[in-house]
């Protein structure tokens, strides 16, 4: 038997209650996820295994408010490699869902996520031109050299996004299915 009942209350229980996190209590802390993680290789200190360990130890507040849960690049290497099929990357997704629901919305990662629904409600499509600012705020300035290079090749997306047809259908679905 697995699932929420065994994991108990608090953050581990909340993670286990989501389809993305339902197998968290099967984790044996083998560390294969961290061993295959390209972000862990690039950024010392990032570790999916540790994120899962901290979740199981109910160190919620700290984790949900952190930038760390937003560093996963969703490459699925850990999902492919996990010996217990717990889908570590999906557990990080579950933590992101919980962070947003509990109001931890100040990190760049959370702001990036929140931009999507706003854009889709407005036009049905993503507005790539404003995404960097919505994510990084004033720190967007660090992206100026990058933007200049893109501009020289005519690759700055237009801030004017054409509305899709049937946007009223999309808005109705958003209202009906949002929490």
């Amino acid at each position: 038997m697995g699932g929420a009942a065994e994991v108990g209350r608090g953050l581990p229980g909340e993670v286990a209650a989501l389809p993305d996190g339902k197998d968290i209590d099967h984790c044996i802390q083998c560390g294969m996820c961290t061993a295959t993680c390209p972000v862990a290789e690039a950024v010392p200190g990032f570790s999916p295994r540790q994120i899962i360990a901290r979740t199981l130890m109910n160190l919620g507040e700290e984790l949900l408010a952190s930038d760390e849960i937003w560093y996963c690049a969703r490459c699925q290497q850990c999902v492919a490699t996990c010996r217990k099929d717990i889908r570590p990357g999906d557990i990080i997704t579950a933590l992101r869902i919980i962070a947003i629901r509990m109001g931890y919305r100040k990190t760049a990662g959370a702001r990036h996520t929140l931009a999507f629904l706003g854009d889709i409600k407005k036009k049905g499509k993503l507005n790539e031109a404003t995404l960097a600012f919505k994510t990084l705020g004033m720190s967007t300035i660090t992206m100026v050299p990058y933007a200049m290079r893109m501009m020289l090749k005519g690759k700055i997306p237009s801030p004017i996004v054409k509305k899709i047809e049937g946007l009223d259908e999309v808005r109705a679905l958003v209202e009906e299915y949002r929490r």
């Binding site: 390209p38 690049a73 290497q77 999902v79 492919a80 947003i100």
Partner: protein, 287 residues
């Protein structure tokens, strides 16, 4: 033979930032006998990111897109690995939660839509490898890419999770290599061909993406690749535009052009450089 019809879903990147991918796709489609129909009423797939805020909204919107294709009686064709995985995952979710699927269908009925599960979500690479096939591709080649050493870069969301996507071995894929050979070039074997470009953290963790880009391009360059090609618009965007940042961590600049798969096809089919948008790359494509 009549053309194979598809609901063409280029993805946000090809529609806004790397438009040359869309352009090249439109240019090669008639040669491959593919008829692409763009549906003005389809939404952004949410890229798995919308799922982090509103999982049910993300599922309902994907069900709507899929139902639009089903109503037209066509399969979906995308140029973006993340669109592919997001839509295929949505299909799995709808199958595994019949109660939610039923509720979503009741909502879609108001718009004269119904999701049955008949529609197949396809990536250009899959259509080329499976439907068109290397033989037919070889027959279309006018300017064989003889002597070119090409590094295939698959991208994550077309390979993993294999049990969800189910197209080819995620540890040892070969669809790209077979296409590169059909075009007359030599595929370069290197370890990073199934690694991650870092796109999904390029804003929130720039150092990680820079490092990942350097690993992927460096791996190909060390094995003597002249050019890299990828089926994914997001990988192309990252590997081309972050290359100058990766260069800062290396002794010598990489100068490795990164092509979209439809661009490479078009080159071998003898299409004009401009029609393929080869002038749109940050790392110049050598003539």
């Amino acid at each position: 033979m009549s053309a194979a019809r598809f609901a063409y879903y280029p993805g946000c990147a090809a529609e806004a930032t790397v438009k040359e991918a869309d352009r090249a796709m439109q240019a090669i489609a008639p040669l491959l006998n593919l008829e692409l129909e763009f549906f003005e009423n389809m939404t952004c797939c949410g890229a798995g990111v919308l799922h982090e805020e509103e999982p049910d909204v993300s599922l309902a919107l994907n069900a709507r897109n899929l139902a639009i294709a089903e109503r037209a009686g066509v399969d979906l064709l995308t140029l973006c690995n993340t669109c592919l995985l997001t839509m295929v995952k949505a299909q799995h979710e709808l199958k595994s939660d019949p109660a939610l699927a039923k509720r979503i269908n009741e909502s879609l009925a108001k718009f004269d839509l119904h999701y049955e599960g008949r529609v197949r979500v396809r990536h250009l690479l899959w259509v080329l490898a499976e439907d068109v096939g290397p033989e037919a591709i070889r027959a279309l080649v006018k300017k064989p890419l003889t002597g070119m050493r090409i590094a295939p870069f698959y991208g994550c969301h077309i390979l993993r999770p294999e049990e969800v996507l189910g197209f080819e071995d995620d540890r040892d894929p070969d669809s790209m290599e077979r296409i590169i050979e059909a075009l007359g070039a030599e595929p370069v074997r290197y370890d990073a061909r199934t690694e991650c470009c870092g796109f999904h953290v390029m804003l929130v963790n720039k150092p990680a993406t820079t490092n990942m880009v350097g690993q992927c391009l460096g791996g190909a360059s060390d094995k003597g690749a002249d050019v890299m090609v990828t089926p994914c618009t997001l990988c192309q965007l990252t590997l081309d535009s972050y290359q100058y940042l990766a260069d800062k961590t290396r002794e010598k600049p990489l100068k490795l052009p990164v092509l979209h798969l439809p661009q490479l096809m078009g080159m071998a089919f003898g299409l004009d450089d401009k029609a393929l948008g080869l002038n749109k790359h940050l790392v110049a494509v050598a003539p």
